[in-house]
Amino acid sequence: MTNAGTRGTSEMNKLFAFVRRDVLVLLSYRLAFLADIANLAFQSVTFYFVSLMVNPAAMPEYGGTTATYMAFVGIGIAFGAFMQIGLGRVVSAIRNEQVLGTLESLFMTPTRPLTLQVGLVVYDLIYVPIRTGIFLGIVMGVFGVRFDPGAVAPALAVLFLFIPMVWGLGMLGAGAVLTFRRGGGIVGFVGAAVSVASGAYFPLDLLPERLAAILSLSPVAVAFDAARRTLIGGEGWAEISGGLIYLAASAIVSLAIGLWAVRAAILRERRMGTLSHY
């Protein structure tokens, strides 16, 4: 195996170490997993009752199919969960390490900064898809929502581009936390605002026309829209290709800015000697 290959394997093993660490921490909280699943069930029930109050005529059409509110919001919540990892968890994980006092010890190991960033949330990257699957299972099994089976691959492609896009924003937030220590609150606010303003819970068409037009340009809104068009409307690769290209470009820009922000923050912390401060 080449040196690069050995390093790659070694960095991959480190990711397994992070997963193992987080599973052990989770097991130490015993009821946390069950509480989370119960929370998902309650969330589904809540949105079911909200859906009963929603006027079906107010719901948008995708590929000629009028969306039910449960299907609409189910996709919003599923994608929103990934946004929470990318935006919220990357930031809060670094903050947690700072507060625990372990961040400096992590930086003293010969681990790449990117591996550290991924490692801190790799457990979520595994757990959240499972959690999302459980959520969608409840939505489909209990509340009768149907998604187009042929849309799974295009929807996963949307997700595949959506995650690095929000990840880049999360890294930008992580850079802010490393620098300002209290950036987490701002990132949380931005995350919530982006969720609401991108149509996770209601169609953007309900907003004033000009505002809706502006917000629909947000990459997050584009991702939500593309996922709904394929999962609800059954649209294929050709129909959502514009959205995929837009998301890919956004992901490249976002990742570039995020990587720069974290690198600059780490260099600054070394220069200032404040890596362990919190």
């Binding site: 070694s10 093993n13 480190k14 397994f16 170490a17 193992r20 660490r21 052990l24 921490v25 130490s28 909280y29 625990l100 006092g101 372990t102 400096e104 010890s105 992590l106 930086f107 003293m108 190991t109 010969p110 681990t111 790449r112 070394r270 220069r271 200032m272 000697g273 890596l275 362990s276």
Partner: protein, 309 residues
């Protein structure tokens, strides 16, 4: 192995380390000695690559300690308790960090068990780290620092707050690492521990180097000690008192206190004889106390102005 040349570090307008030169070859223990705020931790952090110097250069193992390749070979033992996952056991903490140093799960477990035995934490190995006492957490930090058998050990106040037996165990582990070729930098405020433990010492005071050299050399710089006395009715001139002490003891001015003297007893002289000699000269002894240990005296002398504040 460790080399610092003209290293300075400023935080804003305040320079906390200034013009530090340090060379620590493999197989030696170099103590960094100084009171609180002397700049010891800042020096260690620069040697570990965690803080960049604002002046001068730091080289560790012929490389820049900021790089991952060099960091992989530095054992970092920070001060303070907060550097572990409190929900995980001591063993699992070690296993996790060992894997970040590139070990397989199996090797990480074996190495962790080995070190837990060395730092006497076998019985507590499976307890969550949050249940560890301060001393136990400290020993766990030491174990983590030794995970890779590093050729460089940077140790910050490792024995602070430890009971004498635990402190001795920690020093033994570090001595063992040094005897197998590791270069060790050991920051401490515990003066007594550097004698017969460290080979060289740098005394820092407000970031300035006050002394650098062998520990024996530091001790030699100490004042010859015996007793510190305070006189009353001290109108008697010093030469008159001294003339009454010929053959018994020597009296000299105290380096820091104008109303006290240092009394160096001659061999076989009883204190009562000296007191009588002083009284014959027209003065009386108000107080008499055994002077500090030579190494402590040297340290206080070198950092006197810092402690006066």
């Amino acid at each position: 192995m460790i080399e610092a040349l003209g290293v300075s570090r400023a935080f804003g307008p305040k320079e906390v380390v200034s013009g530090l030169d340090l060379k620590v070859p493999g197989g030696t223990i170099h103590a960094l000695l100084g009171p609180n705020g002397a700049g010891k931790t800042t020096v260690l952090r620069m040697l570990a690559g965690l803080t960049s110097p604002t002046g001068g250069t730091v080289r560790v193992l012929d490389g820049d300690p900021v790089t991952r390749e060099i960091r992989a070979r530095i054992g970092w033992i920070p001060s303070g308790d907060r550097s572990f996952y409190l929900r995980l056991s001591g063993r699992e903490n070690l296993v996790f960090f060992a894997r970040l140093y590139g070990m397989s799960l199996r090797t990480a477990r074996e190495r962790s068990d080995e070190l837990l035995e060395k730092v006497d934490l076998v019985e507590a190995a499976r307890q969550p780290a949050r249940l560890y006492s301060h001393g136990m957490q400290k020993r766990l930090v030491i174990a983590r620092g030794l995970l890779t058998d590093p050729p460089v050990l940077i140790v910050d106040e490792a024995t602070h707050d430890l009971d004498p037996t635990s402190a001795q165990n920690v020093r033994s582990l570090v001595t063992e690492a040094s005897s197998t070729g590791a270069a060790v930098v050991w920051a401490t405020q515990r003066l007594e521990e550097i004698r017969s433990f460290a080979h060289d010492v740098t005394v820092l005071g407000r970031g300035d180097v006050r002394f650098s050299g062998g520990v024996d050399k530091l001790v030699k710089r100490a004042l010859n000690r015996t007793y510190e006395i305070q006189l009353v009715n001290g109108f008697a001139p010093l030469p008159l008192i001294e003339s009454n002490l010929v053959g018994l003891a020597e009296l000299s001015a105290h380096p820091f206190y104008s109303d006290r003297f240092l009394l160096h007893l001659g061999s076989g002289t009883a204190l009562s004889d000296v007191f009588q000699g002083i009284e014959r000269a027209g003065a009386k002894v108000h107080s008499c106390a055994e002077a500090r240990s030579d190494i402590e005296e040297a340290f206080l002398h070198l950092t006197a102005e810092d402690n006066d504040d």
